[in-house]
């Protein structure tokens, strides 16, 4: 279907200057969304694409009225949104079904809340169940159903209230590939035959192909803080095939857009990281594996990112942390959708186990300020020991509690691999010497 993108038409949803920050401590706020502006038009499927933790789910929840923005406003058909509104319905990543209610009762839930009487409720719920292809499962409990069927219940529940707009929070990410494909094509069918009264679909995803397969428009999100990096119109007619060269071309464009440095970044790019940098969630074994693939004779040190994702079967949530760490360590360079191994990276991957540790040690001391800081603190301490809480509270000035713990765990793993420092889990103590247990 060709999208009816007419920028002059009045938008269904308009997001104006939305910012969101969470209070970290008395003096520190964590900015998760910065200056987000966009409009969603009648008859559009829009995908918001971004890495995990980029704030895209927060944006979806702000549009749903579940979360209040710190500043800025969301307008739904011209009216500001201050809480969940009728007309906007939502499908959740992990389905959010009530396990103690049957399929029918789950679908009825939204109608029940509207105070509709029993018979009407039942009639409409049965119709929605029909539409979504759940006939025969009315009396089943969610735990009897497979993941795909559960998400169908999620869809039926969202559709039964006759929404104007459907919001979806990574609706297919908890499903296996085949089930997800099946559900996607059914959803597109519903959309194109206009069996429902929906005037727009907006979904959040970290899967590039999924975005390119479904959406008329892809909005690409930046992390730290979340903001719109760019947007891309997809004009291919439905049904799209992932083998179609034009489709591959679109996917390529998304990768390029995601990895090309903007001007601001080019200026910023030369400043080194600081201690509170949100280090990517990547392990040494994973980056070694990726470097080995890059360094394989058939690739000759350079690969197209979509190919890397395909070969190693990684989605962007898994791939980008790896490429980010490789860049931080100067083991590879990523640009315009391509990744290229550096000399250092080549040396690292061709070395033996002990030599690798030495190279890695050298690089994290040089390029990871947090690792260097921990090492310096330990050297300075008379007994070369320090509590992990000290570093944790330092990180919590920059990151959420959960992320701070994650980053510290990650850097400890790297440090242990490089034998930069040792760590005692039970005592929560970092030290320079190896444990004598």
């Amino acid at each position: 279907m060709q999208s009816i993108n007419n920028d002059n038409a009045s938008p269904i949803i308009e997001v104006v200057n939305v910012q969101k920050s969470f209070k970290m401590s008395e003096r520190q706020d964590l900015l998760v969304l910065e200056d987000v502006n966009f409009r969603m038009n009648e008859g559009e499927i829009v995908a918001i694409l971004g890495k995990s933790g980029s704030g895209k789910s927060t944006l979806l929840r702000i549009m749903a009225g579940l979360v209040q923005p710190t500043t800025g406003t969301v307008f739904y058909r011209g009216q500001p949104v201050y809480g969940p509104v009728r007309g906007i319905s939502m499908v959740f990543q992990n389905f959010a079904l009530l396990p103690w209610l049957t399929v029918l009762q789950n679908v009825e839930l939204g109608l029940e809340a509207l105070g509709m009487d029993r018979d009407e409720r039942r009639e409409r719920a049965l119709k929605a169940i029909d539409t979504i292809g759940l006939d025969g499962f009315e009396t089943a409990f969610p735990k009897e159903l497979s993941g795909g069927m559960r998400q169908r219940v999620g869809f039926a529940r969202a559709l039964v209230v006759n929404p104007d707009i459907l919001l979806m929070d990574e609706p297919f990410s908890a499903l296996d590939v085949l089930t997800a494909d099946n559900l996607k094509s059914d959803l597109l069918d519903l959309w194109e035959t206009k069996k429902t009264g929906i005037h727009g679909i907006l979904f959040v995803t970290h899967n590039i192909e999924e975005a390119a397969l479904l959406a008329d428009r892809i909005i690409i999100f930046n992390s730290n803080p979340g903001s719109i990096r760019g947007e891309l119109k997809v004009t291919l007619p439905h049904p799209r095939s992932d083998l179609d060269p034009r489709f591959r071309n679109q996917v390529d464009r998304v990768y390029t857009l995601m990895t090309t440095q903007t001007q601001a970044e080019q200026i910023e790019g030369h400043t080194p990281l600081d201690i509170g940098y949100r280090l990517p969630d990547a392990s040494v074994a994973e980056i070694t594996g990726l470097l080995e693939t890059l360094n394989a004779p058939e690739n000759n040190g350079k690969m197209d990112l979509p190919d890397v994702a395909d070969t190693l079967m990684l989605d962007i949530d898994e791939l980008f942390p790896l490429t980010e760490l490789l860049e931080i360590l100067h083991f590879a360079k990523v640009s315009k959708g391509d990744i290229t191994i550096t000399e250092a990276g080549k040396a690292f991957v061709e070395a033996d186990i002990l030599e690798r540790k030495k190279i890695f040690l050298h690089h994290i001391k040089l390029y990871v300020p947090l690792a260097r800081y921990i090492y310096e603190q330990l050297t300075r301490h008379p007994r070369h020991r320090a509590l992990e809480e000290n570093f944790l509270s330092l990180l919590e000035d920059y990151l959420t509690e959960k992320e701070a713990a994650r980053v510290l765990r990650t850097v400890i793993e790297w440090g242990r691999y490089a034998e930069l420092f040792a760590y005692d889990y039970n005592a929560g103590v970092l030290s320079l010497e190896n444990p004598t247990a």
Partner: protein, 580 residues
């Protein structure tokens, strides 16, 4: 609509006339209603303090007494549920309430409930002068206090762990607070709540037996029930009557288990979102009966409809308010916070000040130090008991737990024994002490843990039975010797379970010390040296100052050891020794 009719008719497909299960079930339901109605009438009898209600040792009266005891339990249970739903929920929803309620419950949990009884009895008699309702309420309150804290705390924890997505879905679909509570919070916490209630039952039986025959301020209060029956049997040294009472109690607990809890637990299975591991499903013949009976299934469906109507009561429906900007209260938040904290501080300082003033004014220091040493004596007993009990039951529990066939038989028995009120068995031990002239200070000690030891046993069984098979095979494969195998695999493996059991057992032992350190058989009264005996003696004399001192000391000791010994061990068990 056609669908509706279908499910409705399915229950009736085939024969229209009731099957024989229907008749059994109907008789059962009618019987239960009639018995409860009779009980309600008995409670409203006039009563004056000092009046002695005649209790007869004729075993024919026992079913009647048992019924009175059981209904006290049921009433207390209903109040515990009400408390749980209000305060547990409130603490889970409001951060401010949480900061007040949770520490309160924590402290209330460590108060010896029996020690409180003398104060509550007087209070309730004043509240309902001239009616038996006063002492009845005091007994019910004792049972309530033994269950409610535990249940509320468990409910608070589960409500807080409701997945964020479920909450968001509820918001998204405009459920009102009332609908959210009954559609999400209550069902979500149902399995945990039931399990908690079942576990609290044992303390409840103990309390109800102890509080039915109670002496306060030189007055003996007797409430018709198994507790006073056994009190009279002890007083008149009637061995036969004691055995009758024990038998009755066994039957009562068996029925409670079979008719109430097993069906409920089997039913609550539907509230679990996923079947966890290989957990064995709880089966209940009564639940099967309910499922298979046409009439009862019909009634069950009516209940569902009723619940639906209850959840959707019009006054609690969400008003679809026009999309309005929320009031800018956030601005005043720090002020509210400050006021609230100030209020709490003033209250706490006030209470502490009053207590300190009261104690300093009325009690010489010598008394305080004496009470402290009595407390240490009881503490020593508790510690020795838990060590002895572990030495015996850990090996037994592991042996049983590693053999699934044996565990299947033993586990329900251990749980059943844990529910049995051990104070019914005290006379049997006392007879032995009197007969063989044993040292009172040493030999009343085991009484304290008579009931609580089973917690250690069944938790260890549970722990041993979930040690992964492959780890045991690795141990065999590496040829680990007996000691090494225990040290490296079995003890760490059961540690979290053992800690749960041991902490429960210790709590039980403290509570039991009030009745275990003073025991009686006929005219012989055995009094051990300890804090429990101290409190009980002063209760009989109605000396409230010294009661308060004793209870306060016990509270402090219990809290002190909880914080210093048990909590750190528990945290260690949870973090380091969790198998998963």
């Amino acid at each position: 609509m056609s669908f509706l009719r279908n499910t409705f008719m399915n229950a009736y497909k085939g024969r229209v006339y009731p099957n024989y299960w229907d008749i059994i079930a109907l008789l059962f339901a009618l019987g239960a209603i009639a018995l409860l109605a009779w009980q309600a009438k008995q409670m409203m009898v006039p009563y004056y303090l000092g009046q002695v209600i005649p209790i007869s040792l004729d075993p024919h009266n026992l079913p009647g007494y048992a019924l009175r005891t059981v209904s006290r339990m049921l009433i207390a249970l209903i109040f515990s549920l009400l408390f749980t739903f209000t305060f547990g929920n409130w603490a889970a929803k409001s951060r401010r309430a949480e900061r007040l309620i949770i520490p309160m419950i924590d402290i209330l949990q460590s108060i010896p409930i029996l020690g409180f009884l003398s104060i509550t009895v007087v209070g309730f008699i004043r509240l309902f002068p001239g009616s038996l309702l006063g002492p009845e309420c005091a007994a019910i309150f004792a049972v309530f206090a033994s269950q409610a804290w535990n249940m509320a705390l468990g409910f608070y924890q589960t409500v807080r762990s409701v997945p964020a997505e479920l909450r968001e879905a509820a918001n998204m679909f405009h459920l009102s607070a009332w609908q959210r509570f009954w559609r999400i919070d209550v069902p979500f916490s149902m399995p945990g709540l039931l399990w908690n209630t079942m576990m609290s039952m044992s303390a409840g039986w103990f309390m109800v037996v102890a509080s039915e025959a109670f002496s306060v301020a030189n007055q003996q209060i007797l409430l018709p029930g198994i507790g006073s029956y056994i009190w009279l049997a002890i007083k008149t040294a009637n061995m036969h009557a004691i055995l009758y009472a024990i038998l009755t109690m066994l039957i009562v607990i068996l029925l409670y288990d079979q008719l109430l809890f097993r069906p409920l637990v089997a039913w609550a299975d539907k509230f679990k979102s996923e079947q966890v591991g290989e957990e064995r499903e709880v089966r209940s013949w009564l639940m099967n009966l309910l499922h298979r009976t046409r009439l009862l299934r019909y009634i069950g469906m009516k209940f569902t409809d009723l619940y639906d109507a209850f959840v959707n009561i019009a006054i609690f429906r969400s008003r679809l308010k026009p999309n309005k900007k929320p009031l800018a209260l956030a601005h005043y938040e720090p002020l509210f916070e400050w006021l609230w904290n100030g209020l709490v501080m003033v209250m706490v300082i006030g209470v502490i000040g009053f207590a300190a003033y009261y104690i300093l004014e009325n009690i010489p220091f010598a008394d305080v130090s004496q009470v402290f040493f009595l407390g240490l004596a009881t503490t020593l007993r508790v510690f020795i008991l838990i060590i002895l009990c572990s030495l015996i039951w850990v090996p037994v529990g592991v042996w049983v737990g590693l053999r699934p066939n044996v565990a299947e038989v033993i586990q329900p028995i251990a749980q059943f024994l844990a529910a049995f009120p051990a104070n019914l068995l005290y006379p049997l031990v006392v007879i032995l002490i009197v007969k063989f002239h044993l040292s009172v200070n040493i030999w009343v000690t085991p009484l304290m843990i008579l009931g609580a030891q089973w917690y250690v046993l069944f938790n260890v069984i549970a722990g041993a039975s979930v040690i992964p098979k492959d780890l045991l095979q690795v141990a065999d494969n590496l040829g680990l010797g007996l000691w090494l195998r225990w040290r490296r695999l079995i003890l760490p493996g059961i540690f979290p379970y053992y800690m749960t059991g041991a902490i429960t057992a210790v709590g039980g032992a403290w509570n039991a010390s009030l009745v275990a350190e003073v025991v009686q058989w006929g005219d012989t009264r055995l009094i051990a040296t300890g804090l429990g005996a101290y409190i009980t003696e002063h209760q009989a004399a109605g000396d409230f100052t010294h009661i308060a001192l004793g209870i306060g000391m016990m509270c402090i000791l219990v809290l002190f050891f909880n914080r210093l010994v048990w909590r750190p061990l528990y945290v260690l068990a949870e973090t380091r020794y969790q198998l998963d």
